[in-house]
Symmetry: D2
């Protein structure tokens, strides 16, 4: 009916794979294609069959077999935005074939997800990407850069335990991601997990055994979904842009992560930096420190930056920022290393891959862009003024 | 079939009421009798209809209409106890009429719950009590004392949002409580909420807006139910008893909670302590401090203890313990006030009610019992001896 | 010298007593008058004797014997405000005689502190109040209301362990409070403890055994004083006022805190509410719930409000807010009880005492004021618009 | 006097350098040799000059100029071990020349520290090592392996802000480390920071901007030093040995840390693993997962283990453990990779360096030792047997 469809939000769920959709077979977790939607249909909190039939939902959607609808939200608290909106979230599953374990994902898979979002961009109000947790922070970071002039939410989620299991975090994670993607105009790549929406390029997986698997060490969550759903609107990234959404999928794969450790040799660094390597994230100590009494190491880094390798300095500490004011940090600066502020290594790696993929730019231009805050991935001290000037291109 | 029933655990779920079973009617949350079991039957993670039919489950149980069975647990992790046991939890709902809002519960309701546990004690492996969150910590404390020589788990749970709602913590809470009650021999009154089992007389409700509503400020949780379920067996309370389980339901209602505040008058204290009041929990400052320069207050307390009123000293701080070594605390000791250690006010109130209900005991005997750790409700420090064995010289 | 005094901030430290200034005598902690300043003078992080002599500091101050000066701050981080300011904090101690244990403090003591701030208001840039931790949250709340049109910081602090002890939190707490009072224009009554500045009427003492003794359950700290000092300027309360600072010291003492518990009798409530009681904070369950099936209780409350007693509804949960939308909460509303939002009981009690002390107002006017957010003590949903309209009168 | 020296504990403080001893010079933090002891002497909480003079402390110690004594502990709480012991901690500083920035430390520096502990082992009751925070977790891990048959505490500490600064965490850190080293028989290499003693091979630096810089993600702290000092004696590592203390200083430097990231190439892995590399810690995803659909990567790893390179699998998640039961983890197992359990990468690297340094052992023997829990660096689960004893039937 017309009036009901007026009050519907459309969400595309791209199921790339991961634990959330797995099942046990001979006591081993495996993926089983084309079964996920069937599982969801049996879960009353994730599908309202009565509504679907009443509104002839399936007749209106070409992907009828993969289209589901959430139940209505209750009038729990009068000040809760969801309840006042009273919208139904209709969602369609797009399942990858084969389903992927996130360990095995590469930049090609990131590009595929980005292209799929682009292809269906006009048809949906928001996007949910189901993904294994192992590399979800990497993919979320990459998508945040690849999506240019983004105006709709793209939310990654997944789970520690399959949705087909009795005790599963997958139901709550999927439900939360769907509600946010369907109700809130948060034009970011987010990651929703265990009652919180984080900015995608700020998270890192910190726990393999607890339901709270992710942390956003240097930025508070954008949304807390407790009894009420609370959005920190002042933190939501707002690109000042009128350009059309597009995805940049040409990512450079010749990038790497190198973590410093005591006793690292210049041989190791040289080997790691050898061609075709074009950019690395150097995981340093504390506030961005590296040995300044090790001329052999510094020379290797200097040699690399001289021949055009881009090196970003990120701390191996979970929390905190690379400072430019310490002697040991300055040594790296003098070698041409770019300070990474409070970026996660995951975000820095994705940013490198993205910027190096802009092959029309000179290395100097690429270096300049790497200093900038492109998608809220790092904290700029003069954020107030700087943020309003920034475009998301 | 015989072999399957061998591998079944039986749990009785006493549904006293509360948010978990509520539904919205005209935008208001209300209780609707006899509907809860129907809701549960539709939830695949809380009922396995195929198993029920295959094993003719309903034919074997007299409460067939109220009996459900959890799905099997998956072989997730080889070191997880549940998975190796491979037991089915068959549970039967016993619904109170009328269903109660926990705000309205009294000592009579506590007695009813205790009697129902006693009545069905031999028929089940464990017990789950569904309860509103508002006074759940009080009820859990009371039941912990009322249950004497307890050998089976009694687990209270509930939720912040009804199970009939899309986003609800009720499903996970009920599921966790059932699994624990069915699988682990934890002979305690516990409270399960948001992935943790707490000792019931150690908890307090600390949050009305988040799913993590309870805290056990002075004792770590007994169980963490994350991706795996981890039991801290060394903390589980083990009554050294061969007696038969029984419930003591004669609770004294002439007890109260009185919180100190600056400027409290002796009039207020006298009014609060007037007969028929027989016992109060005095919520003091810090480590059990009260004004020692206020002879008027202290005289009122002394007068009360002289006429047989039992007064327990608990701190109004969430964490920490009442110490007997401070001057301001000693003033209370001299007035005949009993130090409450690190008991919660909820536990202290319930303990008073329980001990005063032992009407065969003299006041002196009651006072002595109040000093003891009866159900793990307070920390007793044998640290002195422990430490003196380890000299660093 | 002139140029140096230009770069000095003046802070008055009102030492009311408490653990921070205590010493051990015969193994008992006691206060010893006139010794605190001597202790401080020996601590290089709290007094720079060389600077004092170089600038003839003592010659310029009439309270020379009680005046000290902090050392200079280091250029640690270029973006840290303190370091750029490069100001010296000169502070003078005003010691109460007798020194008070905070357990014994009353509204008269609060009035004395307020008057002392008023008396010296023009002579100092900021104020630090040393205070025992036991009732510090009550005093901070009270001062926040008593101080009208406040334009300078008033920071309460103290410690869990005396400054004269080896392991003491007092040095860091005093130092942090002095630096903030001397450097930042935060026109609030704050409470500084364990690296954080909280709004004074938002805190509660939650721990008697850890250095982190206070919590501000419903509002994040205003300042985090870690390696760098970070101020959340957007949260600082800014009274929209041009009035002169004044203190309202006429506090009403006929107020009280009453915590609900299961089985509370109408006799207890009646006794507690009997004259001369004029206002109480009712600590209810969860989101402000009370038994709605207990007409005897509700009648007592209704009778009290009918005869002009002001009753504020606060939750006994540490976190969360009283909602007006639940049935059990509505029962109280119908009895004339005022919803207290997310105020702490400490703040609500102080607000009652303050508003009832405005004897020129009618009870109706007093009730209206109690609904308002006067000093940031409660969260108003439409805070944006509401905050800018509010005056601090 | 004799009776007083009886009640003295002796601690050697090895000052290797780091922030704790730095000073500002021309707005830059630098080390200044031979000044640290002078700073400490001015701090009453770190030196009791009156006691030193009364007992002629300096006459008894050959390192008189570098020997200080802590003040006495107060009788704060009767159950506190320290207060009952009433011992003085006399400590002597041994300053390295040159003082080292921890970024620049190598295995040679670790060996020097170990040798210095060995050299003075009989003369002291405990050892404190002052160290920069950047690589403190690496050094603590290394020392824990190098110290064999350890019977006395070795405690590393340092600070985020120099002790010479006004706001410094160094005073509390040094004080806590000294008290623990002097009073408790904890025969471990520990790391004391911000009120907690952690096992040294369990920590990682997680924050460069907060005073709480370290975390022990998979093991609770051994000591909480709050108002009272609480030791978790059941967690303290007790070597079952009667051998004499010795240090193994022959560490292998041909070891490295390699973190997986999406898109890592087999070229990168081959380059990193090329000779002379003899052992690496592979930082994998989640529960120890690596791409199992990347035969090129797996072949490189297999080739390396075939030629004798030892590879330990550690997760890049802060918390959690490498499991042997997942398919993606099994792929690594088949390549000869050793599962690292819940070891930190820092501990695993140090363990590799230590075990490879046992050159008398065959590679097979080294691999076997790497599977064992040598110093409490990883959690071994005897849960299986524990759980099976407790059947709930």
């Amino acid at each position: 009916s017309w009036s009901e469809s007026e009050r519907e939000a459309r969400v595309l769920v791209i199921n790339t794979g991961g634990t959330i959709g797995m099942v046990y077979e001979d006591n081993v977790l495996t993926t089983e294609p084309h079964t996920f939607v069937g599982h969801l249909k049996k879960l009353p909190m994730l599908h309202d069959q009565a509504y679907a039939e009443r509104t002839q939902l399936f007749a209106y959607h070409k992907d009828a077999g993969s289209t589901l609808v959430l139940p209505s939200v209750a009038p729990e608290a009068s000040h809760d935005f969801l309840w006042r909106q009273d919208k139904r979230v209709v969602y369609t599953l797009l399942e990858y074939d084969p389903l992927l374990d996130s360990c095995n994902m590469t930049t090609d898979d990131w590009a595929k997800i980005a292209k799929d979002i682009k292809e269906h961009y006009e048809d949906y109000d928001g996007f949910v990407v189901l993904h294994g947790t192992d590399t979800m922070a990497y993919t979320a970071s990459a998508l945040s850069f690849m999506c240019e002039h983004q105006g709709k939410p793209v939310i990654l989620t997944g789970s520690q335990v399959p949705i087909s299991e009795m005790r599963s975090d997958g139901r709550d994670n999927l439900l939360g991601a769907l509600l946010i993607a369907g109700h809130f105009v948060i034009p970011e790549v987010g990651l929703y997990f265990h009652h919180k929406l984080y900015r995608g390029n700020r998270v890192t997986k910190v726990d393999s055994g607890r339901f709270k698997a992710f942390l956003s060490p240097n930025l508070p969550p954008l949304i807390n979904a407790e009894v009420n759903i609370t959005v920190s609107w002042d933190m939501v990234w707002r690109p000042n842009t009128m350009h059309k959404f597009r995805v940049h999928t040409n990512l450079n794969r010749n990038v790497g992560l190198l973590r410093l450790f005591p006793g690292i040799t210049s041989d190791t660094i040289r080997a790691f930096l050898q061609p075709p390597m074009q950019g690395i994230v150097l995981e340093t100590y504390g506030t961005g420190n590296a040995p300044d009494k090790r001329p052999d190491l510094l020379e290797e880094l200097r040699a690399a930056t001289d021949r055009g390798v881009l090196i970003i300095n990120c701390t191996q500490c979970l929390c905190g920022s690379v400072s430019e004011s310490y002697a040991t940090g300055k040594a790296l600066l003098h070698c041409g290393v770019i300070p990474g502020g409070d970026m996660t290594p995951e975000a820095a790696l994705a940013k490198l891959s993205y910027v190096l993929g802009k092959s029309e730019l000179s290395i100097k231009q690429q270096k300049e862009i790497l200093h900038e805050n492109l998608r809220g991935e790092m904290t700029t001290v003069y954020s107030a003024s700087k943020f309003s000037l920034r475009d998301s291109s």
